[in-house]
Subunit: 231 residues, 2 copies
Amino acid sequence: MREFPDEAERVAGVPDLLGMLAYATLTAFFRLAGDAARATALSDKVALAAMAVNEHDHFRQFLGRLAELGADPGAAMQPYVQAIDEFHARTEPSDWLEGLVKAYLGNEMAASFYRQAADVLDPGTRELVDRALSDAGHADFIVAHVRDAIESEPQVTGRLALWARRILGEALSQAQRVAAERRQLARLLAGDDVGHLATINQMLARLADDYSRKAAALGLSSRAAGQEERR
Amino acid sequence: MREFPDEAERVAGVPDLLGMLAYATLTAFFRLAGDAARATALSDKVALAAMAVNEHDHFRQFLGRLAELGADPGAAMQPYVQAIDEFHARTEPSDWLEGLVKAYLGNEMAASFYRQAADVLDPGTRELVDRALSDAGHADFIVAHVRDAIESEPQVTGRLALWARRILGEALSQAQRVAAERRQLARLLAGDDVGHLATINQMLARLADDYSRKAAALGLSSRAAGQEERR
């Protein structure tokens, strides 16, 4: 069992968490808007643009909550700019399909992370994050598109399955870096001081498990990735 | 004086006009989101992302009006996809500043075009387009940034002034192409059949005049462009 931080520490950590989520949703907005611009079919452009705007809506809510808590939104986001930008730079999709897989798994990772973090948040923040991460509309559109692509061209499966593992690997390495650098956030999430890196690692391991299940839901199991690696 | 089309023709032309405005605002959304993603300062990212979402808001309203009129949004936009995409492909900004100039002038061109077209629209559509194009928040941010850039680095003026003229030139050539291809839209705007290309050309000439004034407001007069050309 982890020990929860006391009230003062909790309050100190919340803007940290909100800053991370805010910058993550802002960049998710940029990525989805870019995917929408690159889509060939007009109907896909319209659907992805709506998803992008949806992310921006969450971004705006995180910013609003930061302001309510008396935190400066720019200062709260700034510590995460480098890690999140680097994650995106290292997982630049080479085509539209890779962009869709990344959008879906990125959202699922954020939701899984949050499910583990929710119990340390104050109720107001928790409700907000809950709403932001429970959007299902997103997922349905993407799952349908990726499954269609796999069905009509089965040889893409291995490539996309490897791609999904690469995204996870890059996300985990940036997350460990953030956990090491942002002690206040790590303490909010992990409780006690001595064991916090171990606890964070357990969180990340659970996140990786969730991720594998979600990748499998897209038709991208680790078995599919393994088949690609043996070629 | 142009003769106004009768009611039946007007109704036939309005979805055409809305389809054009809808696709234009959708691509403006993509462009601004891309500019926001490329901005270096976090505060610029946030400001440009909000402008992008604002364009998407207008896009959604145009789509809603099309649905109210019983028109299929995709079918209404499709005829403009090629011309508008080509306009963007031929005016790909080479840096952030060119992107800002393009965003500002594109919006001003749309507003000028609309001021000339407004009197043929039904009141419901007119009010909607009015609201969409009267946003001033946009302009202030961009004018301030471009003026700052010119002040701190006067040698960019000539390049940006030429850039502004190139944007106008490409817009005019795509507009003439659309006017020739979309007879229903041209008739809505220009009234009688025989003289409609001449009337459209007059509209475009007025648009070019408005444009020059707006470019001058950015500090990019045709004199500045001429100085660059003589180098």
